[in-house]
């Protein structure tokens, strides 16, 4: 497992798009620059969507892990 010190955690299990990205955006808005959010989703669409959203917003995707139907993202606020 990755050992990023997440400053905030968000569980989007069971939610379908647009909710995982929408909730991630809101959670990231509350973070200060350099802080890390750990987000967990069960929607496979999140993989490409979070990667594309990060590119769009300038935030950084430290790592994404796909395991047992769960997708875990570590996101660093720009």
């Amino acid at each position: 497992m990755s050992d990023y010190n997440a400053d905030s955690q968000l569980d989007c299990s069971g939610l379908n798009c647009p909710l995982p990205v929408l909730k991630t955006k809101k959670a990231m808005d509350d973070l200060a620059s350099g802080q890390v959010l750990k987000m967990v989703s069960t929607d496979p669409g999140s993989l490409n969507d979070i990667a594309a959203w990060v590119k769009r917003t300038g935030n950084e995707l430290l790592e994404s892990i796909a395991e047992d139907g769960h997708f875990t993202f570590y996101l660093k606020k720009s």
Binding site: N16, C17, P18, L19, L22, K25, P44, N48
Partner: protein
């Protein structure tokens, strides 16, 4: 006042695309997914891609990119994001906004039937077009039975279609082991709903029962329906077969398409299979009845469709017009195939295993594997 956006079905989207209804198609998936696979139809589509998260980040700028004064149809992966954007547009004064029910997945599974033979014939022959994939499957109906050739995974459609025509699915024929899409034949076979027939070279290690088809064999479809003669035509795969139905219709599988032929390099043995394909096309195919209508398992572009919207052409016309038949020597043929080779999608390896019954996948995994346009043709043409 804004109105609540309605949804539309994949079927309705296809009929609007076919009927040249004026609208703008807004795809709100991320750019990579859009680049991989998008909606196609018989005519050019007015379409744009603005990811749904752009509407979250910069709503006004994103909304301003959407054409005004025309109906907007929105598609996304599953439905939720399209509905989300539809509601934003409706609240911004767009009066005619709707979203695809079930998302691009249902578009990818959509099958749409076209009658191939005359209504006066004693049997019905249908071509089932899968616009989301470029796949073609076939149904022969006679005496309360339906035989399906190369069924897609959407068995719900075939069962309904059979029922509305007073028939049950009685036989399934696989022209070969498919690499580009998940076959519905497997489920029919496992559920013992019907008997599957195929050439054993393509299913040597499959754990299910199927009837092995022989080169030159003749059988009657749907009990005493039309007669079908089978030819072993290796090249695209080792066990590819071609079926001549009623002496008039040549079901070519992935061996011959209207403007191309099936690539021999999806099985990892292109060096051998390319020579099989040469012999199949330039030797065997030049001896089949020229008046027979070629009915392939794929199309590359909608330009191949005839005026009735189906993908069919007399074999003798293809002898003259399909570039494959102008390659007169073996060397020229091999060079053409090599020049047109390109990487095959990685997922094809897994799809083949599933289709042979060697690996089982969940419904969700199957949905992901089965999405996207086929890459089966030896020569690549722009789909625009």
């Amino acid at each position: 006042m804004s109105t609540t956006p309605d949804s539309f079905t994949a079927d309705k989207l296809f009929s609007d695309l076919s009927g040249k209804v004026d609208f703008h198609l807004l795809d709100v998936r991320n750019e990579d997914d859009f680049d991989c696979f998008r909606v196609e139809g018989p005519f050019p589509i007015q379409m744009s891609n603005i990811p749904y998260f752009d509407f979250m980040e910069e709503q006004d700028t994103s909304v301003s990119k959407v054409p005004k004064n025309m109906p907007i149809k929105i598609v996304c992966a599953k439905e939720g994001s399209a509905q989300y954007v539809a509601e934003i547009l409706a609240s911004q004064g767009f009066s005619d906004v709707s979203f695809l029910s079930g998302g691009i997945k249902l578009w990818g599974e959509l099958l749409t039937p076209v009658r191939v033979n005359s209504k006066n014939d004693k049997y019905d022959l249908y071509q089932f077009i899968r616009p989301g994939k470029g796949c073609l499957s076939y149904g022969v109906i006679y005496g309360g039975e339906m035989a399906i050739i190369d069924p897609s995974r959407n068995l719900h459609f075939y069962r309904n279609f059979a029922e509305t025509h007073g028939a049950v699915i009685a036989e399934v024929i696989e022209t070969h082991s498919h690499a580009d899409h998940l076959s519905g034949g497997l489920e029919l076979c496992f559920s013992q709903e019907t008997e599957m027939m195929a050439h054993e070279n393509d299913f040597p290690d499959s754990p299910f029962n199927y009837r092995r088809l022989e080169d030159g064999e003749t059988k009657t479809l749907c009990k005493d329906g039309p007669e079908m003669t089978l030819f072993h035509t290796p090249g695209h795969t080792e066990g590819s077969i071609t079926c001549l139905i009623d002496g008039r219709y040549l079901i070519t599988g992935d061996t011959l398409f209207i403007i191309s032929a099936g690539r021999p390099d999806l099985g990892g043995k292109a060096e051998k299979w390319v020579y099989d394909l040469y012999e199949t096309l330039l030797d065997k195919y030049t001896q089949y009845p020229g008046d027979a209508e070629v009915l392939p398992a794929h199309y590359v572009t909608w330009k191949e469709a005839d005026e009735s919207g189906k993908f069919a052409a007399p074999l003798k016309r293809l002898w003259n017009e399909n570039p494959i038949f102008s390659l007169s020597s073996e060397n020229e043929f091999v060079q053409f195939i090599i020049d047109n080779m390109r990487e095959s999608p990685e997922v094809y390896i897994d799809i083949k295993k599933v289709n042979r019954g060697l690996v089982q996948v969940t419904e969700q995994e199957a949905d992901i594997m089965d999405l996207g346009k086929n890459e089966c043709a030896a020569s690549h043409y722009d789909s625009d």
